[in-house]
């Protein structure tokens, strides 16, 4: 549920491409198989366009909503250097949203329509941002581990087939590397600090572990729909593969600091090379994504307020002769 495509297991390939021109479809698929990129004004199947709009739009919303839990810590950041770094990170996240909205717009959905759908609850954003950041240590854990998850997702999607999305992701990934370093630095500072600091970071990790396990979404069902999205390079890896990659990269780093994770089953199976863990609570995931999480209301209310309070400024700036044209690339 970050930028990854969600898949309807019941959709059959023939119904997905039923009314597409077979010659154009074959040329489109050949182009993707040859590792070529698809550009906005190329012919594309309807389902390709629909999935990409949905996915890029959700990703954009996740960036802009994701800036909120951390943004609330700017005024209370411990020390000037951290305050500056956090401001820069939050600005980056809002910038990522701008890049992604633009990429989605090239597919024909206006930015206004996307913002309306976010505020009305019609489109979703990453579930993890519906949880609160009660302490400074939470903001450190978000910057390190939530961004780490986002980077795995984004570097995976950056190998996709849609040109504007791929280009936006390349720029985003380049900026994310600072977020990860900054977050790690903050966590290490607390973990190697006083007893109180260690306890605060341990508690934050305990709070964020379940949402982090939800982050990549439930394991995908293997369906014809997922097969075709993979073939079109819309979906680049399964949710479970990305979760495994995340655990592989970060669980040892967390343990290395003498911190623990709140899952007694968590261990790497030497034979399979895969991590074993307690099945995350997917019912809770569904409940929160559908609006019933600790911060859903606050996040949307803040976003709505920002749009409403800025409205008169935007109206004052609007020119009568303005004309909207879908962006080019």
């Amino acid at each position: 549920m970050y930028g990854n495509a969600d898949i309807d297991p019941n959709l059959k390939i023939h119904s997905i491409v039923a009314d597409e021109d077979p010659i154009k479809l074959a040329a489109f698929e050949a182009r993707i198989a040859a590792a070529d990129k698809i550009e906005p004004r190329d012919w594309m199947p309807k389902e390709y366009r629909r999935q990409l709009i949905r996915m890029i739009e959700q990703h954009a919303h996740s960036e802009i909503i994701g800036a909120l839990p951390e943004g609330t810590w700017i005024t209370r950041a411990p020390g000037f250097r951290r305050k500056l770094a956090l401001m820069a990170k939050v600005q980056d996240e809002v910038g990522h949203a701008q890049l992604l909205y633009s990429a989605a717009e090239t597919l024909g959905k206006t930015r206004e329509a996307m913002i309306n759908d976010l505020i009305s609850g019609k489109s979703k954003y990453s579930n993890i941002f519906n949880y609160p950041a009660p302490t400074w240590a939470d903001s450190a854990v978000i910057a390190w581990l939530v961004d780490a998850g986002a980077i795995i997702n984004q570097t995976t999607n950056a190998k996709g087939s849609y040109g504007p999305y791929v280009r936006a992701l390349e720029r985003i990934c380049y900026e994310e590397s600072f977020h990860l370093k900054y977050g790690h630095d903050n966590v290490v500072h607390l973990a190697t600090g006083t007893a109180v600091q260690r306890i605060s970071v341990q508690k934050a990790i305990n709070r964020w572990w379940p949402p982090l396990m939800h982050f990549f979404g439930p394991p995908d069902s293997i369906s014809e729909h997922s097969v075709i999205l993979m073939r079109w390079k819309v979906k680049m890896a399964s949710n479970e593969d990305m979760r495994q990659q995340f655990m592989d990269m970060y669980v040892p780093k967390i343990w290395d600091l003498g911190l623990t994770l709140p899952d007694p089953k968590l261990s790497k199976n030497k034979e399979t090379g895969l991590w074993e863990y307690t099945e995350p609570d997917w019912a809770e995931f569904k409940r929160v994504i559908n609006g019933d999480g600790p911060c859903n209301k606050e996040r949307l209310a803040v976003r709505k307020m920002a749009e409403e309070k800025g409205r008169w400024v935007r109206h004052a700036l609007l020119r009568k002769d303005a004309e909207y044209v879908t962006p080019l690339a």
Binding site: S102, N116, E175, M305, E308, L317, V325
Partner: protein, 124 residues
């Protein structure tokens, strides 16, 4: 009212049930295509788009969005609607045809002939 862990948000006294009237078309303005030049002497290249009410503000947003990292010495913005572009479906117009190989420096092979001439006339 929204009660938040963030004192700033609680202070805002946000009414979560306030009615939101949908943004109308152009509420977020037109788009401008942004061109970025890294160093003097290099080409400007397209880096993305910004939404802005006019060109001056488009430059301001372009600076925030595309000049936060690395080097920049100049930016251009152009209204998207002012860009004319070829169609990808017509990309074949750019294909170099067989009979135009005379444009390719590699197709000029004089050394063989010079060598042959020298050999024939005992000039080496």
């Amino acid at each position: 009212m929204i009660e938040s862990l963030d004192p700033r948000i609680t202070r805002e006294e946000i009414d979560e049930n306030s009615v939101f009237s949908d943004l109308k078309e152009l509420d977020q303005f037109e788009t401008y295509e942004v061109f970025h030049q890294k160093k003097r002497g290099q080409q400007h290249s397209h880096v993305g788009i910004v939404h802005a009410p006019n060109a001056e503000m488009a430059l301001l947003y372009a600076k925030e969005q595309f000049a936060r990292r690395g080097q920049t010495c100049n930016l251009w913005v152009v209204k998207t609607q002012h860009v004319f572009a070829t169609d990808y479906d017509d990309s074949d117009i750019f294909e170099t045809t067989e009979e135009k190989i005379y444009r390719d420096p590699g197709t000029y092979k004089v050394m063989d002939r010079i060598k042959a001439y020298k050999e024939k006339n005992n000039l080496s």
